[in-house]
Each structure stands twice: as C-alpha cells, then as structure tokens.
C-alpha cells in the first residue's frame, strides 16, 4: 500500500502531539530542536515511535538530517518505498 507524503505527515503529526508540550501549531517547517524544544534523546524516542507506527527501520545515522517535521516525513516516505 503506497501512502502519499500528506498521509504520512498526518500520521507523524499525531505522534509528535505527545511531544508537543507547549501545543504549538505543527507544520512541515516545524523544527524539533528550536520550535518544539526537543533534545536529541527525545527526537530519538520520537523516531522509535515512528518506526513502530510505519513498521520500518529508521537508522540513527540519518538523525542529523531530520531537523523539521517535513524532512522527517520525506525520509519516512522514502524508506517506505525502499523497505
């Protein structure tokens, strides 16, 4: 089953909700570190939830390239295509 980036974005947003303590509006450009104030360990916890949500392997190696929710969405889209 192929999913569009929009659908993936919605599912990721649902997971980000638990980490969005200040309840700021989330869009593709929301930055994990500055906007959501997540430290690197928390981003790794989010990554684990996304792995289980989509049943994919997300290597920690790509973490430095995942600064925004949009970049995360694109990465998941790509991984779903590969795995």
């Amino acid at each position: 089953m192929t999913q569009t980036e929009d659908e993936i974005f919605e599912r990721i947003c649902a997971l980000v909700k638990h980490f969005n303590i200040k309840n700021i509006p989330i869009n593709q450009n929301t930055v994990f570190s500055s906007d959501l104030e997540l430290d690197s360990l928390t981003v790794m916890d989010l990554l684990a939830e996304v792995e289980d949500e989509f049943d994919i392997t997300i290597p920690l190696n790509i973490l430095p390239d995942l600064e925004t929710v949009g970049q995360f969405t694109t990465a998941v889209h790509k991984l779903l295509g590969n795995q």
Binding site: L41, D45, L47, A48, E51, T57, P59, L60, Q83
Partner: protein
C-alpha cells in the same frame, strides 16, 4: 564576520555560569589528598567518597600496590609506544593470558581505556553493510563507537526484548544476509539495572545476530567467579564478545575485549583505537593483572552488595524517591527539580560526602540523580554517616518530612 567556533556552546556555558560558586559547584572539586579507596581530603575536610565506582576497593590493595611498584622500578613509567610499535611488553601479553584464563575464552585484547575498547570494537566490527543494534540507554562510548563506524545504527527501547525482536525482524526482512551486532550492557550504570540477558540473547540468536555485552559495571560484582552478568544469568555461551574495564572493580585504568571468534585477533591489525594510541604503562598492567586474580578468588562481592542494600534500604525508609533498590552497587535518589539536585549535591559535599550529581542527558528518562556507587571497602560506620547526612540535608532542603528517622 566569521563565526566563533565556540558560539555553539553558549547555551551550555549559560547553564554552567548559573551554577553556584565555590564549594557547591560540582565541576570545581579536586581532591587535595586521597587517603584510601573511600576517603579523601576535599575543601580541607575529610570526605567519604561515595561515587567512585571503586567497587572492590582495589586502588590501595597492598598486593596490587606492590606489583605496580615493582613494575615501575623495573620497567619504567610508560611504554611510549603503541601495542603494534614498541608498546607490547611481556606483561601486556601476560595480562591478556590472564583475561583468557579468567573468562575461559580463546582470545583477549587489552585496550588503553574501556572507552576505547567500546569505540574500537564496535566501530571496527560493524562495517558499511552491517547493522549495530543498541539499547536506548547505552553508555556514551557505545554511541560514539556507532558514530565512528560506518554501520547502520538502530536503537531499541531500554531492556525491552519485544522492542529488540521487532527491530531485528525488520532488519532481517529487508536484508536477510546482513551482519548484525547487538550491543548490551550487563549493568546500566545510572540506575544499576541488569539487562535481561537470557531473553535478549535468545532473541538475538533467533535472528542470527552477534551479541556484545559491556560488563564495565558488573565484572567483579556479579557471577560466581566475578565474570559479570552473563555469567550470573548463565548465558556466556550466547555472548560473542565481552567488553570490560580495569577502571572500576580492577582499580586502575584500561579496557579489554574477550571472544571465542576464530578470527578475533584480526582486530589487532584493523582496530584504530587499539593501534593509534600508546599502550598501558607497565605499573598499570601489573596492578590490573594482580587485581584480576584477586577478584576471582574473593568474597568481596557479598560485602559490596550488603553495603548497597544497607544504603538503599536506609534511604528508601527515610522517604527518598529512589531509582534503585540495592540489587546492584548503585544507590540513586531521584530529585525532581534540577536546581534542587545541584543544591543537594553542594550541601552533601559540605557535609563531607562526595556523591555523583548525574543530570540529563547522561541519565535515563531525564532524571536528576544523586548517585552513589558503593564499594566493598566502605564500612557500615561510613554508610551510617552517609545516611545521616543524606537525611539531614534532605530535611533541610524540604525533600523529606522532619519526622523521618534513621531506620
């Protein structure tokens, strides 16, 4: 304007600058005189060392001291060479023989620190087409070994067999022939919790993965002959690589890896943290060899765990929120507020007890911890003193009800 290379550290420097000045600043402590494995003079006061990881109190053991002195006199202060260039003495070889004998393995390689053992073995074993699967609460040296290598790194939830199983299954599904290295720790240092090695190794083997166990905090402490948690849980035959350190139970510095893999010695030719650093000084090698022999034949393990149970029970009875319960040599009080934890630490050092202030991100679940690591060399009198001071300070800072009593 070019960018100041140090600009990125501004947030951390701001935090640092807000720490209390003087004795209450945990980054400025130095020991004026070390008196024993458990006492030192700090700020002019005799202070109990309650966070040294000196589990067996080996740092002042007479036999270890004598062995080190003899090596110093006869072999000099240092090797000034790498293991592969002028830095291998017979004593380095003997230490590796002692490790092989201790673990009953075919191979042993000694590194200059425990950190380098993890860094070297993990980064070298797992290459570009391989996978390293690590526990979320792994020590920095494991994370750094992953960062230094070229393997794909996957992280599973701390001590969760199901979570590991899911990740290994996914990797196997997408890459059936992949080489996979699962990295575990016998005891996790912050809260002293053991890994459920029986389940974790079984799952790893079900997926044909190699298993590495870092026993840094468990060698000397657990297992019938002190080999660690893999021995205690009876799964040594399921473990491919054991990493350890000489800087805790062994009382000096250095690291090692033991294995039965037939090609293990290849690491000496390719492992950069092994090759491109000076080897351990002869005095260190001599005391490590002696201490390894001593911990194998000692009954200090029981005394150590009795000490830990006494401190853990006392703190718990006093009403502290504990992160530990005494099954390991760690006793850790959880303090909700970070500034309160820093103040707590400062009061304790002024009272003559030097504990570890452990803060995120070095701690699991972003906890602020007042962490003690017990030693078999601590006396019950010292532990009673520690308990008394913890309770005094806890009451003074409002963390405990006034009614709390020494149990």
């Amino acid at each position: 304007m070019t960018r100041d290379l140090f600009e990125k550290f501004d947030p951390i420097l701001n935090d640092y600058n807000s720490l209390p000045e003087g004795e209450g600043n945990p980054f400025t402590v130095s020991m004026e005189k070390v008196l024993s494995p458990t006492t030192a003079i700090i700020n002019g006061r005799e202070t109990i060392l309650a966070g040294t990881n000196n589990y067996m109190g080996m740092t002042f053991n007479e036999e270890c001291l004598a062995a080190a002195r003899d090596a110093l006199d006869h072999q000099g202060t240092g090797t000034t060479g790498s293991r592969v260039l002028n830095g291998t003495y017979n004593s380095h070889k003997q230490l590796e023989e002692s490790l092989k004998d201790f673990y009953g393995t075919r191979h042993a390689i000694v590194f200059s620190t425990g950190y380098q053992a993890n860094l070297g073995v993990i980064s070298t074993l797992a290459g570009p087409k391989d996978y390293v699967v690590i526990d979320a609460d792994s020590h920095a040296s494991i994370y750094d070994g992953c960062a230094m290598g070229n393997a794909t790194v996957v992280r599973f939830r701390h001590n969760s067999p199901e979570n590991l199983d899911k990740r290994l299954a996914r990797i196997r599904q997408s890459d059936p022939d992949a080489g996979i290295l699962v990295v575990l720790e016998g005891v996790y240092s912050m809260l002293g919790d053991q890994a459920p090695l029986r389940e974790l190794t079984r799952i790893s083997k079900d997926h044909n993965a190699y298993v590495l166990v870092d026993e840094a905090h468990s060698v000397g402490v657990f297992g019938e002959s002190g080999r660690g948690v893999a021995q205690e849980q009876g799964v040594e035959d399921q473990v491919d690589f054991i990493i350890g350190t000489f800087s805790k139970s062994i009382g000096t510095i250095g690291g090692y890896c033991v294995s039965n893999h037939e090609k293990f010695e290849a690491l000496r030719l390719v492992c950069r943290p092994y090759i491109f650093t000076a080897s351990l000084p002869p005095s260190v090698v001599a005391s490590a060899t002696k201490a390894l022999h001593l911990i194998r034949n000692s009954n200090l393990r029981r005394k150590l765990l009795e000490n830990s149970l006494k401190l853990n029970k006392g703190l718990s009875r006093a009403g502290f929120n504990m992160g530990t319960s005494g099954e390991s040599p760690i006793a850790a009080i959880i303090v909700d507020d970070q500034d309160m934890a820093i103040a707590f630490w400062g009061e304790m050092i002024r009272e003559g007890v030097y504990v570890n202030l452990a803060l995120p991100p070095a701690t699991p679940n972003r906890m602020n911890l007042m962490r003690c690591s017990l030693s078999a060399a601590h006396t019950f009198t010292q532990i009673d003193f520690m308990l008394e001071k913890f309770i005094d300070v806890g009451q003074r800072l409002g963390l405990l009800q006034k009614a709390a009593r020494l149990a």
